[in-house]
Every structure is written in C-alpha cells, then in structure tokens.
C-alpha cells in the first residue's frame, strides 16, 4: 500500500534534516521517497495532508509501567500501547515491577507476545535482581539474549551497594544500563516532599536527601565498575548537580525527568488530591528550576513519563494510603511542548533529542531516520494546537492524572510505525 504524507515539515536533528512543506512517500510501511513528489506518484496512493505539521523521528518513552502480568484491570500491554500511540509514541520501554516481576526470559517473552504486531514497539526492562528483592542479581545474560534493554528494580533502588556493584559489573558485559529509582528507604517512607507544605498539610515527609544519597552512591559505583547508570525520574536540585558533575568527569551516567517533575511543584498537593502523589514526590520551585537548567545544558538526557496506571478505587483513598504514580503517556508531549518548547527552555531539536533520540541511545537501540528504504517510524506533531486534556477520552485503562482539564499547546497528531498509522483516533494499516 502507498501512502503520502503531504505538505509536511520534516525535522531530524541527528540526520541534519529540516525541510519545510514537503512530502513523504511510504510504501508497505517503508519510506521510499522524501521531497516534493511528482503528480504521477500520487496515483493509487492514499494521501494525508499534514500542512503545518512536523514529522520527527518516532518518540520513545523509556519509562512506562504496563500492569501485565498481574494487574490487567489497570493496564494491559495492548491498552498501554494504545495510550502510547495516542500520546504520540512509536516505542516504549516497560518496567519490570509486574506480578510476577520480569526477571526471566519467559516473562520477557510473555510481555513481548502481548505486544505482538502493535504499532508501538515494546522494549522490556528486566529486573536487576531476582523478584526485585535486592538479594541476587537476575539472570542478565539470559535476559540480554531475550532482548531486554536495561535492568532496574524500579519502584525502589537496588537494595544494597554490594548488589548494585555486581549488577553494574555484570550488565557492563552487555553494555546495558542499570536504571535506578533513587531513594534511600531508611530516610524516605513518607507521602510527599519534605518542606513547609508537608509540615502544614500534616503529611509524612520524604526528604530530598533520600534521593541524593542514592544518586551519589550510584555515581560512585558507576565510576568504580565502569558500568552504566541511568537515573530514572530525577527530581531534586542536588541530584541534577551531581549528575552534571559526573558527566563533566566523563562518567557513564545518564538521567531522565518526568513531565510532572518539571510542570508541577509540591504546591499541587495542597488539595490532598491523590493524583499528585507519586514517587519521587513533586518537589519545590528550586528543584524545578535546576531541572530546567539540567534539561537545557544536557545534564538530563531524556524525558520519560513514568506512566503508572492505578485503579480509581485505589486512588480514591486517603492521601497517605493511596498508591504512588500517575498516568502520563497521553499528556507527556503536550506538557513538554507547552512547558519547555513554548516557554523557550528547549528548542524543538532539544525536545526531539530528549524524546526520540537519547532514550534510544541510553537503551542501545537504533534511531529511526527518514532515509529511503527505512521503516517509517515517525511522530507527527502539531506544535501550536491548543487543546484541553480530557481524561475520559484516554486510551489507558486508568485515569489517574493530575492534568485533567489542563490547557496545553502542542501535541502529536499521528504516529507511524510497523506498517501502521494512528491518526484521528484510529489505527490504519499501511
């Protein structure tokens, strides 16, 4: 089947490509030509006019919690992929804190099978330790062979420095990162960021030093072992500063930030809305300022959602009892464009780097291009559309987001990958 994306802008920083108002010809899911197409190419082609829209390499969210296996009532691999497509992603990496945990080739196979032939490519991050218990490192060689792209005990940090050291040494053989949820549990354990707000709300506090301590430990052990550390959902000023220093020293340390950690502060918790409860918690204005600085200067490599679906029943609890986490796949691009691009924090090139290129580099995956004979793996953005988040229309099985009804500027209007296009709320076979 022939498809033409007509009058579209094409932008790919890694490919040094920036063409306005051109056409992309896709045949059977493969890009065959980019440029102004002659009339005769239009014969027997399905034509989609994308005037004013911009095609960029398909966005990739490297931190997603699918709830399959275990909590299919909250999210399945397929519903998560649908949310990803609707949110503008052609690929995601899913975290292993399922039930059972993804700590064996069998569970990796199971998850991949669920995603079979979806537009959205699902990459699997395996547990760093067996059962995420922090006692014995997972069978990393076998997991590598099964195609996992990293190791993480996300939900918690790897329990001890000793185990982390071994995980880094072992994973280094396969050039896979250890992705760390940085939190010292002996200091954390509360339900919101420690500060004047936690004191006034009477909510048990999580001091930011709980994150900083593990970031410091992890950087030291990355330096010592030569293994790669990726700091997940970085949220504190000091953590950003430490990652910046580590990078200046040339260490193999990378970092990601979630949209909520740059778009919100712990002021949002004042209503006790459980959709403002996540881990790491929303921090202060000073932390957000440093995060924006870190995004700009390259300290923070990636933007990732930490999409964490939870059932309404569980979130409708008292703040202290509600589970951590919010959904994010469908608000991520809008928040990044609104808060970063349109507020002149990042250029479009930097946004594309942080949402399409760097996540794949961290996970050692090839970056899609617009070159001929490449599979079309494209996100199409409308940078200026003003829209309102409407959770009731979310493709995710869960609706736990603090961003409902938020006005955003810019969104993904379509994604193309794996011989499919998601456009105007439906999947189209190409």
């Amino acid at each position: 089947m022939k498809v033409i994306l007509k009058n579209i802008d094409v932008f790919h920083p890694a490919q040094k490509l920036n063409k306005k108002n051109t056409d992309i010809l896709i045949e059977d899911g493969v890009i065959t030509e980019t440029g102004s197409l002659s009339e005769k190419k239009y014969a027997d082609a399905e034509v989609y006019d994308f005037t004013g829209k911009v095609a960029v390499p398909g966005f990739f969210d490297m931190h997603v919690h699918l709830r399959e296996p275990g909590r299919e009532d909250e999210e399945t691999v397929v519903s998560g992929c649908n949310a990803a497509a609707s949110g503008g992603f052609t690929g995601i990496a899913c975290m292993p804190n399922t039930e059972p945990a993804i700590d064996s080739a069998e569970v990796v196979e199971f998850v991949k099978k669920q995603a079979n032939n979806h537009l959205v490519e699902v990459k699997v991050i395996a547990a760093a330790t067996v059962g995420r218990k922090g006692e014995i490192i997972s069978p990393m060689a076998e997991l590598h062979e099964a195609g996992v792209v990293g190791f993480s005990d996300d939900g918690a940090a790897i329990k001890t420095a000793g185990i982390l050291k071994r995980a880094l040494e072992y994973s280094r053989m396969y050039n896979l990162p250890v992705i760390e949820h940085c939190e010292d549990e002996s200091i954390a354990g509360g339900s919101m960021n420690e500060g004047l707000n936690s004191t006034m709300l009477g909510l048990p506090p999580i001091p930011s030093v709980a994150e900083d301590l593990i970031v410091m430990r992890d950087i030291l052990l990355s330096e010592y072992t030569g293994g790669r550390i990726h700091i997940a959902h970085i949220s504190t000023r000091k953590s950003v500063e430490m990652v910046r220093e580590a990078k200046a020293k040339g260490l193999k340390v990378t970092a990601e930030v979630t949209p909520h950690h740059f778009a919100l502060t712990d002021d949002a918790v004042k209503t006790y809305d459980t959709n403002t409860k996540m881990n790491p918690p929303l921090r202060t204005k000073e932390d957000v300022e440093e995060i924006l600085k870190g995004l700009k200067d390259g300290t923070i490599d990636c933007i990732a959602s930490d999409h964490a679906p939870h059932s309404a029943e569980e979130k409708e609890a008292e703040f202290e009892h509600a589970p951590n986490g919010i959904t994010g796949l469908e608000t991520e691009i809008g928040l990044a464009l609104t808060e970063l691009l349109h507020k002149n924090i990042l250029t479009l090139e930097e946004v594309v780097n942080k949402m399409a290129i760097n996540p794949r580099k961290v996970l050692d995956l090839p970056v899609p291009t617009f070159e001929a004979r490449q599979q079309a793996n494209i996100t199409i953005l409308d940078l200026n559309e003003i829209w309102t988040v409407d959770l009731s229309r979310s493709k995710s099985k869960s609706k736990n987001s603090p961003f409902d009804k938020r006005l955003l500027t810019g969104r993904a209007v379509a994604v193309v990958n794996n011989k499919k296009m998601f456009y105007q709320d439906k999947f189209i076979e190409l």
């Binding site: 004191t199 009477g202 909510l203 029943e313 609890a317 008292e318």
Partner: protein
C-alpha cells in the same frame, strides 16, 4: 455575626474574629454547664454523626456530650482501623452517611486530609476531630480557651508547645490559632521530633527545656507516644524524662509561675513528673469541661449557619 466557613477543618486561615467568636460563645456555654439543667434546645432536630476511624474515647465523649447538651440527635459511627486499610471503605462509608441526610459530621481519622475529602463528597458541615498529624482544631481552641481563662488574654503572651511536634495534630492547630490571636509561639523538643521548616510558620525552635520554661508564660505539654513508633525518635524514656520532662525542681530552679497545659492523659514521670502532674489535676479537669463548652460553641455556630 456568623462564622466565615461552614466547616471547621483546621485553624489555618481561620480569622481572629472567628476564633474570638468561638471562644466567647464557649464562655456562654461554659455558664450553661454550671446550671442544674445543662441542656439547651438550640440544635433540636439536627442529626450529627460522630465518625471515628481512630479510637479516641475522650474526644468522642466530649463531642457527644456537647451534642446532647445542644439537644441534637447524635449517632456514633466507629470504624475499626483494621477495616479501613482499603480506601474505598472510606468513600463508601461517606456515601452511606451522605444518603442518611445528616446535618453535621464530626470526623476523626488517622490520615491527614480525610475531613477535606469529606467536604467534597458530603453536603453536611464537617468538623475535624483530628486528622493524622495535621490538625485538631477543637483541641487548639480549647487550649486557647484555657489559656485565656487563666491568664486573661492571649495577645502578647509567650507560649511554648513541648514534645513530639512532628507527630502531633495538636501542635499545628495551636500554632495557627495562637499566632492568629497574637501570641508568640515556640516549640521545644528533641530535634528528631521537630518538623523541618516549622520556623517558616513564624515559630521559634528551642531544644533546651529550661530555656522554654524561662522564656514563656505558658507551656502546652504534649503527650509523648511511648507506645508506638515515636519511640524511634528518642533513645529512651529515661533520657527523654531527664532532658525534656518537666519536673518540680526544674520549675523551682527557673523560679517561675508558669501555666502548664496538657491534653491528657499524662505519662507520669515522662513528660511531666508526678508532682507536676498532681498540681495540674484541677486544670486538667477544668480543661475537660472547657472542651465540652468549646465543642458546643463550634457545633452551635456551624449548626445555626444559614
């Protein structure tokens, strides 16, 4: 002059006029409580639910008594903590209560914010009888009432709250209320029990009990939770008693006649020595009666709002 809010969720943001109104109204009810017939028909026909998710016999009885003295129909609804581990129970219970068309709900809950949540799903006037480590406004009002009764004013006084500030629901209500009324407020306790950033509320932090005694006109001594996990915050009860307990020798040494309040029940020999506790008996009993008067005032003012 009516209250500005139809709920009492905390003393944060409650105006000086409103606090004054509640304290003055309590004085009226305090007189009623001295009469042979202690009942007034003010809230006749009103239904009040005392919704207690946490065991607190003292607070519950105080509210219940206040409700009965005002001729309201009081219903007690106690939920054992073991059955509230799931949040849906809370919401479902609320929905049930809402369906019963009650006029007011007095709620005690182990989680901060629960009374606020209630205002969103329930039409009744909500009174917070203690939520987690957040607020306990009627206790704060009662403490202010007792201070005013004894020292004849609040404005310009120096008041120190002593003990585990970080895990207390009474401390914040006292801080907000006392500061609004023009008192100077400090807190005293081991630094492991003082929440960070509390100075930003305009509160002085002291960790020497002698200094607290010397500098203040009144001490509000909190009960130390010796039973549960609060124990992790200080090395031993012996050490706490020795360095933070209030004893007769300490009071004598500092040569001060200082008003001491305690919400009760006292851990004798811990936060207060037996001698100091004995001397306090009268005040504590008076505080119990004052507590009923304060709760009557709050129920009355909210219950008669148009």
């Amino acid at each position: 002059m009516p209250l500005k809010s139809r709920h009492l969720l905390g003393l944060q943001g409650v105006s000086k006029e409103d606090i004054q109104l509640i304290l003055d109204t309590a004085t009226t009810f305090r007189e009623v409580l001295e009469r042979p017939i202690k009942k007034v028909p003010t809230l006749q026909g009103k239904t009040i639910v005392n919704l207690f998710y946490e065991n607190s016999t003292r607070t519950r009885i105080s509210f219940e008594l206040a409700e009965k003295r005002l001729s309201a129909d009081a219903v007690n609804f106690s939920v054992s903590t073991s059955s509230v581990s799931k949040g849906e129970t809370f919401k479902d219970t609320m929905r049930n209560i809402e369906a019963m068309k009650v006029d007011m709900v007095v709620v005690r809950h182990s989680a901060a914010g629960a009374p606020l949540f209630l205002t969103q799903i329930c039409d009744a006037n909500i009174i917070n009888a203690g939520d987690g480590i957040h607020e306990h406004p009627t206790q704060g009002l009662l403490d202010m009432y007792s201070i005013r009764e004894k020292l004849r004013k609040i404005e310009g006084l120096k008041v120190c709250i002593v003990g585990d500030i970080a895990h207390s629901r009474v401390a914040l209500s006292n801080i907000y209320g006392l500061k609004t009324m023009g008192a100077e407020v400090s807190v005293c306790g081991p630094l492991t029990m003082i929440p960070r950033f509390i100075e930003e509320l305009g509160v002085k932090v002291i960790h020497n009990i002698d200094e607290a005694i010397q500098e203040n006109d009144a001490l509000n001594v909190l009960r130390i939770q010796i039973e549960r996990k609060a124990r992790e915050y200080f090395p031993s009860i012996r050490e706490y008693a020795k360095y933070f307990g209030i004893t007769e020798e300490r009071l004598e040494k500092n040569g001060k006649d200082i008003l001491i309040l305690h919400p009760g029940p006292i851990n004798r020999g811990v936060e207060l020595s037996s001698g100091v506790a004995d001397g306090l008996n009268q005040i504590i009993l008076r505080q119990v009666t004052n507590g009923v008067a304060i709760r009557m005032a709050v129920l009355y003012l909210l219950g008669t709002l148009k």
